[in-house]
């Protein structure tokens, strides 16, 4: 909410950027954009990139220039921020329940193509009321449980029944299936990921069979993330891939065996603020408020001898496994443990190429809670 100026200016050297700052390595980022476009091109699947990762209208546009057909968002506030910035095809890949949120979402249909998920017939009256009040027909995807044990109703007949109710509604249209297996993304072994997505595929097939029996056309099957997208894309079942993190690659994805084919492009630049003599540690100004630890501690980029071993609100403690500790004032790139919540802490991306600040991009939907 407070006005926060960018921590850098174009032309600065990276080591002049104030800390902590969110650094986007533009060469690596653009390579990641291209890699995903190339990987998906020979498959039937299209990219609907997940904007909960980047929350940026600029990045959404760069993805769509390379073939993405739209964006996923997780919150109505994200949909508003992107639609207002010109992103015109948005799927809220999530259930929305509150009438005040649905009214905002329906209103957005005037400026963008909007769809949302449901997994419960009890949610339909509010969806219908919002669509009716806005004078639109709202596209609703049925989310099915494919192994993630989060949202989603039973595949097969229960999902088909909900789809039929949506299709028969005056104000809703059946938009397809949402079939995302979140926890499969981070299964460490490739064989575990393969089995998980094979199972998800059986859930999708069973539901498509049921829809066919009901004579319902299924325009979209959405799912897939950075850890498994190649499996969904190759299956012939999923039509839209919802990967988000591929543009940045965080430390957690890098821990997968046979990790996804992307480069680390997102960093938290931190400065050593304390290096007490003889203590065996150095303390940087990026703790868990600057680099959330829900998926583990950050790693120090290209300094394998340094370990980030403890985080408090505004401090990160480094130890040296081998070799010297960094000195007071030194700046280091940290690879975030998890890119999504890390980006959501910052107002600005500092885009860097070959050691110089090239651009400053706002995190358009930063911190939008509702």
């Amino acid at each position: 909410m407070p006005l926060q100026l960018p921590p850098a200016e174009p032309g600065m050297r990276e080591d002049e950027v104030d800390t902590p700052a969110l650094i986007l390595d533009l060469d690596a980022f653009e390579a990641n954009l291209d890699t995903m476009a190339q990987r998906l091109a020979p498959t039937g699947a299209r990219l609907r990139a997940h904007a909960k990762t980047h929350k940026s209208a600029v990045i959404a546009r760069l993805q769509m220039e390379r073939g993405a057909i739209g964006q996923c968002v997780q919150k109505v506030g994200e949909a508003e921020a992107l639609a207002r910035a010109g992103i015109d095809d948005l799927l809220v890949s999530n259930e929305v329940i509150a009438p005040q949120k649905l009214a905002r979402l329906a209103a957005l249909s005037r400026i963008a193509r909007i769809a949302v998920c449901a997994d419960d017939s009890a949610a339909l009256p509010a969806l219908e009321a919002a669509a009716e009040a806005a004078g639109i027909r709202l596209s609703v995807l049925v989310e099915i449980e494919v192994g993630a044990k989060r949202c989603g109703l039973e595949p097969g007949a229960p999902a088909g029944e909900l789809a039929a109710r949506i299709a028969s509604s005056k104000h809703l249209s059946f938009g397809g299936l949402q079939a995302y297996f979140g926890s499969a993304q981070h299964k460490r072994q490739p064989e575990e990921r393969r089995l998980a997505i094979a199972y998800a595929g059986t859930c999708v097939e069973r539901t498509l069979d049921d829809l066919r029996r009901r004579g319902l056309h299924c325009p979209i099957v959405g799912g897939g993330g950075t850890g498994t997208f190649a499996l969904e894309a190759a299956s012939g079942l999923w039509t839209e891939i919802q990967a988000g993190s591929y543009i940045f690659m965080d430390a957690d994805y890098a821990r997968n065996v046979e990790p996804p084919p992307f480069r680390h492009a997102l960093f938290v630049l931190a400065q050593v603020m304390s290096a007490p003599t003889g203590s065996g540690r150095a303390v940087v100004d990026a703790g868990h408020k600057a680099a959330p630890t829900d998926s583990g501690y950050p790693q120090v980029f290209e300094r394998p001898e340094l370990a980030y071993v403890g985080a408090s609100d505004e401090h990160g403690v480094l130890e040296a496994r081998d070799g010297p500790l960094p000195v007071l004032g030194e700046k280091l790139r940290l690879i975030p443990g998890h890119c999504d919540p890390t980006v959501d802490r910052y107002d600005w991306y500092v885009g860097v190429r070959k050691g110089r600040v090239e651009c400053l991009w706002p995190v358009t939907a930063r911190g939008l809670m509702v």
Copy 2:
């Protein structure tokens, strides 16, 4: 950065507030303010409450109306936000290294009493240069290591030597000692906390002895947090108590045996967005972006039969140990695992009394990184 309206209006019932929202239970909060004031009154120690917890000029003022002599902050951005809102006695209880940050801090000395910490003589030239450029004398506290193994130099002679260098500087003044034992706050057993603060006390005494030998007056000994403040206050050594979380009481502090004498006053209001039939779970719209998990998952307030068992970006999974699950659309109060990073996610406090929204307070320094 984007304009984010409050998720509520005064007069609304709490169950009408949009979710996720940061709820402040005003009765519990005011009781906590009073309890701390009463507990410290008979001791020699004064409260310099830590604003990294609340980031709010309104709350800072309420603390100062009840006897707090000022505020601690952890970032220069926090100091700016509070000073500009009229909070006129601020200690940055942290090391500040970057010249651009020090210039901003020195400039603030025109509108507030400002002090900052140092733990390294290598940091002094930048401090001196900033003070000289601003034409002020900057008060610098020496941070000593008292067991937390974070920042802070060796107590005794090394600390005394740094104090002497500060005192002899043309542009700095020796402001006292910073002696905060962060990790002691969360030691579960009272005896562990007692031993930790007893040890910290020996570090303070040793340093005060050294300062006395050097003929240096030590105006402030600062430290103490919500878990141990009674020990520091009773010691006769600490003059300023830097507790922050006491106003809110989070789930982590409640796990201490003999927990601090405060009531849960801060909540994340969340709504059930999915409750798949037969799944044994309900999913709320508050994941780790809405309630950070660095100190464990949130707890469901006054619903001991419900357990929050998993967090992803925008989803929290609840299971029922005993009794029914909440239904689709139901709103629940979550006690955050850790109040400080949770507050920093929100633009607004929604102040509630007896089930009605009474006030909306901005999180003045929300997300200020530098």
